[in-house]
């Protein structure tokens, strides 16, 4: 109860965070229930109504095929959010395994450490481009590529936390008592990893949305037929002069999502990191 009140107070004081949560909630609801909110099919073409500016019929205007931009933005949100979310899951799953191995076993650490360092030496987008070039452009492959790209970040955080957790008195005690390693891992380590993972996952979510858009924009991402936000900006750039709305609204959607996620991630870090709490 008191915890809840503290949380409520925290949110109230932190107006930016409130804004972020509200924005993200709106985007998520619109995306998840897209068919309910969109008056048009996202793929339905009406060539005669192409390039119409925003109006009460077409809230965000129409694109070069006369498709409703609003419908496409919110349907695109499903794909962008799904891609981001799946990337987080994939990166975290892989990162946790690598991180715990590195944190627990010194020999594994030497190998994993170097591989992680090597992977992190590539700029995110560059490694993603190369991996998608290898795997072929599709939604699944973009998720896999981005998951691989962000895996080392998670592995680093998990390794650092595991090293700390390993030395905690109760873990040492459990080990001394002969508790099997997998029990220690599931009971103590994973539970203590939750906080750093949530923080890291929020940021990766944000970065993955940006990176997916970047890949689509460069023409090496999800099939350009799919209405993702990056694809819409890519297609809309040619009409930047006479139909600004085609590339403006998906861009704004990306900014809102990524902005909200980063604010929330920052707040989570502040709330979950005891070292910072001290200085509040």
């Amino acid at each position: 109860m008191t915890r809840l009140r503290t949380a409520a107070l925290f949110v109230w004081r932190n107006k930016l965070l409130t804004l972020a949560i509200v924005l993200l909630a709106i985007v998520t609801v619109l995306a998840v229930f897209a068919p309910l909110f969109a008056a048009f099919e996202p793929g339905a073409m009406r060539i005669a109504r192409r390039l119409r500016p925003p109006s009460d019929v077409h809230l965000f205007g129409t694109d070069e095929f006369g498709r409703d931009v609003f419908a496409r933005v919110i349907h695109g949100g499903r794909i962008s959010l799904a891609a981001g979310g799946l990337t987080v899951l994939f990166a975290c799953a892989g990162g946790v395994v690598l991180g715990i191995l590195a944190g627990f076993y010194d020999r594994a650490d030497r190998v994993i450490g170097k591989v992680v360092d090597g992977m992190m030496a590539f700029p995110d987008i560059l490694l993603a481009i190369a991996l998608v070039a290898v795997l072929g452009p599709s939604l699944t492959n973009v998720v896999v590529a981005l998951g691989v790209v962000y895996m080392p970040r998670v592995a680093r955080v998990v390794r650092a936390s595991t090293l700390v957790i390993r030395e905690l008195p109760f873990v040492e005690a459990a080990r001394a008592l002969g508790v099997p390693t997998h029990r220690i891992l599931s009971r103590h380590v994973l539970r203590n990893l939750a906080s750093p993972l949530i923080v890291q996952g929020t940021f990766i979510f944000a970065y993955a949305i940006l990176a997916e858009a970047g890949l689509s924009f460069l023409g090496v991402g999800v099939s350009p037929e799919t209405p993702t936000w990056g694809n819409m900006i890519n297609a809309g750039q040619q009409y930047a002069r006479q139909a600004w709305w085609i590339m403006m609204f998906p861009g704004v959607a990306i900014v809102i999502c990524v902005f909200s996620l980063q604010i929330i991630g920052d707040a989570l870090r502040d709330a979950l990191d005891p070292k910072l709490r001290r200085t509040v």
């Binding site: 060539i47 070069e64 037929e225 040619q238």
Partner: protein
């Protein structure tokens, strides 16, 4: 009323003539930047069919013949028309004398023979011609004689084209892979910085023809000191750069940019009409669409006028026309066009079922590198799905597409486009070796007759029959005609809009 109108019109015309006279004083000097669609893969136009290579190399390499007004074949390095004898099997070509190469040597028939042999060896179209050629010889220093196995009407067109081109280089430098760029053109190659520019400078010893200029033919004068071809792959950036006055000429712009190019101080639109025709080529050899009935159903389902509108927007830039050659070309005919532009989903569904189609996937290849291909493909997919077809649209880069389409197991249809080629025989659908592999008894009989006939009027009649067979057997679906858009600086004078833009005979107004 009418008188007043006429009078004011006359006044306008007079004023126009006066300004035109002022502007038409060519001036030597100046440097221009030309924005191209991308880095040329090579500087040698014989090994490439890429338009950007043709456009750049036109300035330093020349061919025996070239195209004048209305795509008429006119001599360039040849002194005059070829004398055709022995029932169309021997071509005797007189050469110009005193033509200088960039290395200072003078062109002789030995150079031309070596160059033509090289062309037959390395160029796609050269290999195509080589199948008919038995001998290339030089009876004297200023004459070349080509002997054929059987009459082959497209020969002079092949010798005139700037892509897969029969360029003339010194015999000593006619290796398969050119080590040096030495031609006879009004400009010479100076420097290439990949992805930055190709730099050409005026060739001061250029020997020009005496006859009046007509498109690529006639007298060529290099007024400009220097031409730089700058690759700008992003179409949007080409438009913006033109608007900002960065380029004297910006090639191949998206037609959506037309309104924004009008009434600008630093640039003006250049429209080339009609430029060419987008087309859906169908795999007739293998897979679901080897079935002619299904091909006919697809033709019935599509609505090319909608595809054109989505691709080109402004109605000034496209014309829904089924005929394989646009009105104005001698090859134009209305034979068989009734089946064009139906967009009839119900009928198509019926036809497909009758032909035995039940939901087999149809793989359509397209690329985003040509935005209008991709937009047409998206509209096509929408119409085909409505008619019950199961479409798998595969988007890749153009290089991958051109690789993939050579394997009949990998696709059912792909999008491409072509300029209206002056010689119908050069079109891919009339070559059974090119992807699509259309080869039926009806087609083969007509194509053979077409290639061997040298009388133009008779060839026109044969082509009209061929067009009818195209609509019946559907090896391709022509989407329509489109115009090309480019932009030029108001300072650039004397430009003739052309399929492969060229800059001799142009100059900069001070």
């Amino acid at each position: 009323m009418r008188k007043i109108l006429t009078a004011s019109l006359a006044g306008l015309l007079a004023a126009g003539a006066a300004t035109a006279a002022l502007a038409q004083e060519p001036r030597r000097g100046g440097v221009i930047n030309v924005a191209t669609i991308g880095e040329p893969p090579t500087l040698d136009p014989s090994v490439s069919t890429t338009d950007v290579v043709g456009m750049i190399s036109l300035h330093y390499f020349e061919t025996l013949y070239t195209f004048g007004t209305d795509w008429k074949i006119v001599p360039l390095l040849a002194a005059g028309d070829a004398q055709i004898s022995d029932g169309g099997k021997v071509y005797t070509i007189p050469l110009r004398t005193g033509v200088k190469f960039h290395d200072g040597s003078t062109m002789t028939s030995a150079d031309v023979v070596a160059s033509l042999k090289r062309w037959m060896d390395v160029a796609v179209r050269g290999k195509q011609a080589a199948a008919f050629i038995t001998d290339v010889a030089a009876p004297d220093p200023n004459t070349v004689r080509i002997t054929l196995k059987e009459p082959y009407a497209p020969l002079l067109s092949l010798l005139s084209l700037p892509t897969s081109a029969a360029i003339v280089v010194p015999a000593s430098k006619a290796q398969a892979q050119l080590a040096e760029i030495v031609g006879t053109g009004p400009y010479r190659f100076r420097e290439r910085q990949p992805d930055r520019y190709v730099l050409l400078t005026r060739f001061d010893d250029y020997v020009a023809r005496d006859d009046a200029a007509q498109v690529y033919g006639g007298k060529r004068t290099a007024w400009l000191d220097e031409i730089r071809f700058v690759p700008v792959p992003n179409a949007n950036t080409r438009v913006e750069g033109a608007l900002a006055g960065q380029y004297a000429y910006a090639d191949s712009l998206p037609v959506e940019a037309f309104p924004s190019l009008r009434g600008q101080a630093r640039t003006e639109p250049v429209v080339l009409a009609p430029f060419g025709w987008p087309v859906m080529t169908i795999n007739t050899r293998q897979g679901t669409l080897a079935n002619q009935g299904v091909r006919q159903a697809i033709q019935t389902a599509l609505k090319p006028s909608d595809m054109l509108e989505a691709a080109f927007g402004d109605k000034a830039f496209f014309k829904p026309e089924g005929a394989l050659y646009a009105e104005g070309f001698i090859w134009h005919s209305k034979n068989g066009v009734e089946v064009y532009d139906q967009g009839n989903a119900a009928k198509a569904r019926e036809m497909a079922r009758a032909a035995g189609y039940n939901g087999q996937p149809i793989r359509i290849l397209t690329t985003q590198q040509f935005e209008f291909h991709f937009r047409m493909a998206q509209v096509a997919v929408e119409y085909l799905r409505q008619a019950g077809f199961n479409i798998d649209l595969q988007v890749s880069d153009w290089a991958t597409l051109t690789q993939r389409r050579t394997d009949p197991a990998l696709w059912e249809a792909f999008f491409t486009h072509s300029p209206f080629l002056p010689e119908p025989a050069l079109n891919g659908y009339l070559n059974d070796q090119s992807p699509g592999w259309w080869s039926t008894p009806e087609r083969n009989r007509l194509v053979a007759a077409f290639n061997q006939e040298s009388d133009t009027a008779k060839r026109v009649a044969v082509f009209a029959d061929l067009q009818k067979v195209v609509f019946e057997q559907v090896p391709i679906i022509k989407i329509g005609n489109f115009n090309a858009l480019a932009a030029k600086s108001p300072q650039l004078q004397g430009l003739t809009p052309a399929a492969w833009p060229f800059f001799w005979n142009t100059w900069l107004k001070p």
